[in-house]
């Protein structure tokens, strides 16, 4: 009888202990959600307070003067990221195709793929400094195109790795059927693998774009900044992120308000890309 009661007490203790730890885990989840809500609410409330149509359409006012907008940053950001995407997509997808279609059983290609996988998390500021050394220094001044190259370098591994992973999911029987009809490898890749993996590759591209739209560090030393709207990719070019950095660090209240408004637009932009990618992935399953 005594032993039975002892056992009962021990089981109770274990149950209480389990409930306690699970409660702790619940608290950590609350902690995580708490930060999410805090940052989202701040960005949205402070952003919406200061947002106006002038922000997108007006050129900036001189420092310290109220009014004006951030047209130069929006235009620059759009040009820099679009160019980066144009450079990044073909190269990234090509490498991804090679990793899966040609090198699945080669140790060396596997090594290349793993290196690329590691490059996904390469600190972005490092890419910025390297591009400065390779492109900006020889030219002698900052220019927009070098910013695009830096961003393209950051997005390449993301696109390559997702493409490679998606292509792995294409069943081999499809490829074998095409080979049996006498198709060449390039035809199999073009008409079978890529056709079957279209949606997945698109997801990779969107993830790549989402990765670079919010980047600041690599642009600091490449496209740099410009107080005027420019469409010339060989001039220094403002971007939304660098402008937020400069404006938030600056001494004027008006600059801070503009930085919040720009942050809101940037956040919404990246979240849209992110949700698009998530939606495409969800459909896939």
């Amino acid at each position: 009888m005594e032993g039975y009661r002892d056992l009962e007490r021990r089981i109770k203790f274990r149950k209480v202990k389990s409930a306690f730890v699970l409660f702790l885990s619940f608290l950590t989840a609350v902690y995580g959600i708490f930060w999410l809500f805090w940052i989202i609410i701040d960005v949205f409330s402070k952003g919406f307070q200061n947002i106006s149509i002038d922000l997108i359409l007006q050129d900036p006012a001189p420092p310290g003067v109220e009014g004006g907008g951030l047209k130069h940053a929006f235009v620059g950001h759009l040009i820099i990221t679009s160019l980066a995407t144009l450079i990044g997509i073909p190269i990234g997808i090509a490498a991804g195709i090679f990793f899966t279609e040609y090198g699945r059983f080669s140790k060396f290609v596997d090594f290349l793929r793993t290196m690329t996988d590691s490059l996904v998390s390469l600190p972005s500021i490092i890419v910025g400094t390297a591009v400065y050394a390779i492109m900006v220094k020889p030219v002698g001044h900052f220019f927009g195109l070098s910013g695009s190259v830096a961003l393209a370098l950051l997005m390449l591994p993301v696109i390559a790795i997702t493409t490679a992973q998606i292509l792995k999911l294409v069943p081999d029987s499809l490829r074998e059927a095409a080979y049996a009809l006498g198709a060449f490898k390039w035809q199999v890749i073009k008409d079978i693998s890529l056709a079957a993996a279209k949606r997945g590759i698109l997801t990779g591209v969107i993830l790549g774009i989402a990765r670079i739209t919010g980047e600041t560090a690599p642009l600091l030393f490449t496209s740099f900044n410009n107080n005027f709207t420019t469409y010339n990719i060989f001039d220094p070019m403002a971007s939304l992120t660098v402008t937020i950095f400069v404006y938030a660090m600056g001494p004027y209240e008006d600059w801070h308000r503009k930085a919040w408004a720009a942050s809101l637009i940037l956040t919404i932009g990246t979240l849209i890309f992110f949700i698009m990618a998530k939606y495409l992935l969800g459909k896939k399953k």
Partner: protein
């Protein structure tokens, strides 16, 4: 189609086959091999002046950062980078494991995707936003409430009191690490959660079948099984924290001094580069910043390669063996 024509078609296709192969192979070779070599090589080349002038030990071991006398030592920035990363990870690791347990074991099924999306959304916010928000919102709260409170609580205790010594400004090691930890939580939590989910249901049920409580199953079945994945996720997140620039750019104060208290200003490798790169007016100055970049590159790349080659490769094999 007559015979000759067919022959030329086959020849054309064969040539295309070769061209495609060479094009794709060279792109892959560029990405997997030349890209890291070019990055590392250009950093090494630019850092060479500083490497020759200060040497390796002379740079890593020196705490002097004096642009006027052109003497540069990387110790404060390196220590700052390591300290913020370690403290941020110490905050983030238990939270991530808790969040992973919550999502995989506790949350009601219909709410699961909501929580996963919420965590992932937090990870999709650009780091500059974290930085600015940390500067305008978190930093004042830290300076006005949290840090004075910590001082009141801990200052009188010997040794620990030293950690909160100083004037609470909100621009310090504590705030930097906190914001950095918020930034890496989603990233780390997602990987840890994925590792948790890899545990075969069968093993868990065996645990429950023996009368184990939920926590006992998590502690003795899920965590041991997911352990390599957890470690891999932590290493990847540490790599991310090491190289993070914008989230801490506003919050460190960029002071080249080794912090002795949580309330001291500091600098990190990335913050020094971001703040001083365009102002560096001498070759040695710029070269020293490149030296810092090179050190960061070596540390983070080694870390990433280690986690990829040793942990995730092994995991892939194991998950294949267990049939998942």
């Amino acid at each position: 189609m007559d015979g000759i024509n067919k022959h030329t078609y086959r020849r054309r296709d064969k040539i295309i086959d070769k061209v495609v192969f060479i094009a794709l192979a060279s792109v892959a070779l560029f990405l997997g091999l030349l890209y890291p070599l070019i990055i590392g090589g250009s950093l090494l080349k630019e850092a060479w002046i500083a490497i020759e002038k200060f040497g390796v030990i002379g740079f890593i071991g020196s705490a002097v950062w004096d642009p006027v006398r052109e003497i540069f030592g990387g110790l404060p920035a390196i220590v700052g980078t390591l300290l913020t990363t370690v403290i941020a990870s110490l905050i983030a690791i238990p939270v991530c494991i808790g969040v992973a347990i919550f999502i995989t074991e506790l949350s009601p099924k219909p709410l699961k995707p909501v929580f996963i999306t919420a965590v992932e959304l937090l990870g999709a916010i650009p780091s500059i936003i974290y930085g600015m928000w940390g500067f305008f919102v978190v930093s004042p709260v830290m300076a006005d409430y949290v840090e004075p409170f910590l001082q009141e609580l801990l200052l009188d205790i010997p040794i620990i009191g030293k950690l909160v010594d100083g004037i609470p400004t909100g621009i310090d090691l504590l705030t930097s690490s906190l914001v950095l930890s918020i930034m890496i939580i989603p990233f780390m939590a997602t990987i840890v959660k994925d590792a948790f989910e890899m545990t075969p249901q069968l093993l868990k049920e065996a645990g429950y079948g023996m009368g184990a409580t939920k926590w006992e199953v998590i502690k003795d079945v899920v965590i041991p099984y997911a352990f390599p994945g957890i470690v891999g996720g932590i290493i990847l997140s540490v790599g991310r924290a090491l190289g993070e620039t914008m989230a801490v750019a506003f919050l460190t104060g960029n002071v080249h001094k080794i912090p002795t208290s949580l309330l001291d200003q500091l600098t990190t490798i990335t913050v020094s580069i971001a703040n001083e790169f365009t102002e560096a007016d001498t070759d040695v100055y710029l070269s020293s910043l490149y030296y810092l970049a090179l050190i960061l590159f070596v540390i983070s790349f080694l870390l990433l390669i280690f986690s990829k080659f040793f942990i995730f490769k092994r995991l892939e094999k194991r998950w294949k063996v267990t049939g998942i």
